[in-house]
């Protein structure tokens, strides 16, 4: 007569229970690709707002705080509202958002379930622009406390050292012809003729700033609407776009 399973039964009789003695006597690792507590690296973030847009439970909050010389941008991720779908991670063009394998999320204090990160975004300093009315009087040179403006009256040349300038605007006030002005630097996406008008950038732009007309071969960007996230640059198959910061 055969006794089925006898060896297994005997083995199990003398072996330890299969219980994982968590949390006191055993450490547990999450399986590969487990989507746990979110991590956010504010140094990589470019504030494109894509994560806020794609988050289905609306667990991501963005807070702007105006400070001198720029903005404090804070991202708030509420883990008690998250579905851990990792769509934010997939859409993050710079890899600032990563879902870690940390599953220890049983908390008494709700504050511990919040993931926060903030960074300081400097406002783009303006460039000093000289108009055509300039008579090379040299008053701006005298007014400049840093000596960053050089005017050569006989040769009619005017130079400005951007790195030395402290933007005190004394030159602007002193100019008798009112032809000096600080203008916000042009920054944004630059287009080149390698473009094949595939409209990928138009589709991927999170704010809809790009308009591509395939039939008439035109490419237009709304510079006011553009948030300089760089998504169009990264999706361009022809590398026709560049981002100037």
């Amino acid at each position: 007569m055969r006794l089925p399973f006898t060896p297994i039964a005997l083995k199990n009789l003398f072996s330890k229970p299969s219980t994982v003695l968590y949390p006191f006597k055993a450490e547990v690792q999450a399986p590969p690709n487990y989507r746990g507590k979110l991590t956010y690296d504010p140094t990589k973030c470019v504030n494109c707002g894509m994560c806020v847009k794609v988050c289905s439970p609306g667990a991501i909050n963005r807070i702007y705080e105006d400070v001198e010389g720029g903005q404090h941008i804070t991202y708030e991720f509420d883990m008690s509202s998250c579905t851990f779908c990792a769509t934010c991670q997939d859409f993050c063009s710079t890899g600032a958002i990563k879902l870690s394998d940390n599953f220890h999320m049983a908390e008494e204090d709700h504050e511990n379930l919040m993931v926060r990160g903030s960074y300081f975004k400097k406002s783009v300093p303006g460039k000093l622009v000289r108009g055509d009315d300039c008579v090379f009087c040299g008053l701006c040179e005298k007014a400049c406390p840093e000596g960053c403006i050089k005017v050569d009256r006989p040769n009619k040349t005017w130079t400005w050292d951007e790195a030395e300038c402290v933007r005190c605007e004394k030159c602007v006030q002193k100019c008798p012809k009112k032809c000096l002005e600080f203008k916000a630097a042009e920054s944004g996406v630059e287009w080149s003729d390698a473009c094949v008008y595939c409209t990928l950038c138009e589709k991927k732009c999170p704010v809809g700033a790009i308009k591509v007309d395939r039939a008439n071969k035109t490419w237009e960007i709304d510079k006011e609407a553009c948030i300089k996230c760089g998504t169009c640059v990264s999706v361009c198959p022809k590398k026709a776009l560049t981002l100037n910061d």
Partner: protein, 148 residues
């Protein structure tokens, strides 16, 4: 002497009452998985009670639908004090993807003080065990405070 014995045995056997308030069943399955031999939450004395009148810890899952709201309040009133409330997953804490729906009455904080919130969608059994263990510690403190 009996009082001491009762106090000790109470702390070693916190019974759980599980309340589903419109959950998708993900967290419910994970809670039941905790009681299987593999995770074996019963080694801490946890046991699923059939009635809220026997419970020490109330585990709530789901985003609290309008239909279940009155039942939830009625159930919580029946639980003898002191008791702990554990919210399971994202739903009871915030409403998760259902927040803003006409038929969802989350968060749970509106109706009762949530002692431990276990995050995850669905939460891992290990996380639930962690949360339940934290709840027992709170329960013990509450009991001591009540005796004084």
């Amino acid at each position: 002497m009996f009082k001491k014995m009762i106090a000790k045995s109470m702390s070693k056997s916190p019974w759980i009452y599980h309340m589903n308030t419109g959950s998708c069943n993900g967290c419910d399955i994970e809670l039941v998985a905790c009681l299987t031999p593999r995770f074996d939450a019963e080694r801490f004395g946890f046991k699923l009670a059939g009635s809220p009148r026997h419970a020490d810890i109330v585990v709530v899952s789901g985003p609290i639908t309008s239909q279940s709201k009155d039942r939830l309040i009625r159930t919580l009133e029946q639980v003898p004090k002191p008791f702990c409330v554990v919210s399971l997953g994202s739903c009871p804490k915030s409403g998760n993807v259902f927040k803003g729906s006409y038929s969802v009455e989350a968060p749970l904080d509106k109706y009762v003080n949530v002692d431990v919130s276990v995050a995850g969608c669905a939460c891992k059994p290990e996380t639930i065990i962690e949360g339940l263990y934290k709840a027992t510690l709170i329960l013990q403190k509450k009991r001591e405070a009540m005796e004084k």
